[in-house]
């Protein structure tokens, strides 16, 4: 059993490193993955008798490298195999497991390259850096497994055919390219976060893996404020994840969460990381989002939420070209900041320009936000309609039940003049 556990630990720590190392010169990610999985099989056969090697990574790398060369020879396409073998020989000089820069960062930049479709970047990272299988990734992103496999295969072909480089871009390009890497990591985290009850063990793992990738990038690029910002954002969100459900599994909105149920050491770590980021004087989207979460977290000390600060941060996010979700959250902040029915009316006015967005037909957060604001202005009938829309678009049963309870509350107020 110890062998299996060691193999698993090495797999988690080393998978991406070894794939990156094996594929860096050839750009053949799929070939590297095949060779590596054969090496893991060999390890599980050999280690129980021969004992766990002193340098498991180096052992796996040596075996995988041999498998790669065998595969290249086997193909017997001389013109193709010879240069590939030469590349392998160059790229795979003895590796002591340390001393060289961690190649996983280069692999992540290859996965989030502009030539790779944005939607497949996070799945590709999960597969190549962490060794997730296509079926698990498909479930997490709500995509048909066959479709996901196809997309991953196509992306790897693209890396190979276009010769997408395994490198960290030069300083001038770094910010833009890094954003794509961070987006993909955040998408990984979000896919895990979307299962708040943690009922699905595999997706719960995904949130943790997102944070793990975030830590990796932040540790390899400690001068990049946005990498730190993303890590702070994920840590803040993670600190509150368990608090989103009560003991009976009911959904608990942020405003009603007991700060004592938050993971306070994780909040503290998030604050520290965000502070370090702020000292680099390079603000950006992820730092602003993390700062919003930081203000929410401060409620545990202040006893109230500083909505003026949150509104200011959302203004900043909107100025950076914020998305639909930013605009919706800003409208809610407007309402909370001003308070009461008058604030809710101002929030509704802030939502108004979004009404023409075609995505709204399937976008639950808009309808949930609109419903809550309508209810507070006393427009109960319209609130009911918006709640029904949100309920119909919600996939999480616990959130659906919460929205249904709110809908019932709105329905009890019934049509009629606004309540005082």
């Amino acid at each position: 059993m110890a062998v299996a556990l060691t193999a698993e630990a090495v797999a988690r720590q080393s998978y991406g490193k070894l794939v990156a190392y094996l594929a860096a010169r050839t750009h053949d990610v799929a070939g590297a993955e095949d060779a590596l999985s054969e090496a893991f099989v060999a390890a599980l056969e050999r280690w129980p008798q021969a004992g766990i090697p002193r340098e498991p990574e180096a052992w796996l790398l040596a075996v995988a490298r041999r498998k790669l060369m065998d595969a290249a020879r086997h193909r017997r396409v001389v013109d193709e195999a010879v240069p590939a073998l030469e590349l392998l020989a160059q790229g795979l000089e003895p590796w002591d497991g340390g001393g060289i820069p961690d190649p996983r960062l280069q692999l992540m930049f290859a996965c989030a390259h502009p030539e790779i479709d944005a939607e497949v970047r996070a799945p590709l990272m999960l597969q190549t850096v962490l060794g997730f299988d296509a079926a698990t990734i498909a479930s997490a992103f709500l995509v048909a497994p066959a479709t996901m496999s196809q997309r991953l295969v196509r992306a790897k072909q693209r890396i190979r055919q276009a010769g997408i480089p395994f490198e960290v871009p030069e300083h001038r390009q770094l910010a833009g390219r890094l954003e794509a890497v961070l987006e993909a990591i955040y998408a990984t985290y979000a896919a895990g976060w979307a299962d708040p009850a943690g009922t699905e063990a595999r997706t719960r793992g995904l949130a943790e893996e997102g944070i793990w990738l975030g830590r990796l990038v932040a540790s390899l690029l400690p001068q990049e404020a946005e990498a730190l910002g993303l890590l702070a954002l994920m840590l803040h969100a993670e600190a509150r994840r368990p608090a989103r459900r009560d003991a009976e599994g009911n959904f608990v909105p942020l405003a009603e969460q007991d700060p004592a149920s938050w993971n306070l050491p994780m909040v503290a770590e998030a604050e520290e990381v965000l502070f370090t980021a702020s000292r680099l004087s390079a603000p950006g989207r992820f730092q602003l989002e993390a700062a919003v979460q930081s203000v929410h977290a401060a409620r545990r000390v202040a006893g109230r939420t500083d909505w003026a600060a949150i509104l200011l941060l959302y203004d900043g996010l909107l100025a950076l070209g914020g998305s639909l979700v930013v605009a919706i959250n800003r409208a809610v902040a407007v309402a909370e900041f001003r308070g009461g029915a008058e604030g809710a009316a101002a929030g509704l006015a802030a939502l108004e320009p979004l009404a023409a967005e075609p995505q709204l037909a399937t976008y639950q957060p808009y309808w949930a936000a609109r419903a809550a604001l309508l209810l507070r202005t006393g427009r109960a009938e319209e609130a009911c309609e918006a709640y029904r829309r949100a309920i119909g678009l919600e996939a999480d049963p616990a959130v659906r039940r919460f929205l249904q309870a709110e809908h019932e509350r709105a329905a009890r107020l019934g049509p009629g003049p606004p309540s005082p």
Binding site: L142, T362, R388, I391, G392, A395, P397, R400, Q404
Partner: protein, 126 residues
């Protein structure tokens, strides 16, 4: 019922979302929860309709009322019950028209029926 949008007639695809229900599981649900579930289905239908993707839908009466007909070598047999006794039985369907299978899966996940059984997503020949 609103007709499905057809801005992009050539690119859209039809999918049948089959709602398989675990009736043993469903029968344990309290009356109050049943009412909530019914309301959730109504909201789901409304969301499908207002998004302009719903072509048709029906809920089916229980399989105890089903009758199965077969023709084998010119011999007809008629039996009471569904064609196969399985834990989950077809309880209803939604025929939708969306851009791709990703969108179809998203709608399947939103169906309240996904909580008490399974949603099978089937592309339609076209």
């Amino acid at each position: 019922m609103m007709p499905a949008k057809s801005d992009d007639e050539d690119d859209s695809m039809k999918f049948l979302l089959l709602n398989y229900v675990d009736y043993a599981e469903r029968s344990k649900v309290s009356q109050e929860e049943n009412g909530r579930l019914y309301a959730a289905y109504q909201a789901y239908l409304e969301a499908l309709t207002k998004a302009g993707v719903l072509l048709s839908n029906h809920g089916l009466r229980p399989t105890s009322e089903a009758v199965t007909v077969r023709m084998r070598g010119g011999q007809q047999t008629v039996v009471n019950g569904p064609f196969a006794e399985t834990k989950e039985q077809l309880g209803g369907y939604f025929l939708i028209e969306v851009d791709d299978i990703d969108a179809a899966l998203a709608w399947a996940a939103r169906c309240p029926g996904a909580e008490y059984g399974a949603m099978e997503v089937r592309p339609v020949w076209q």
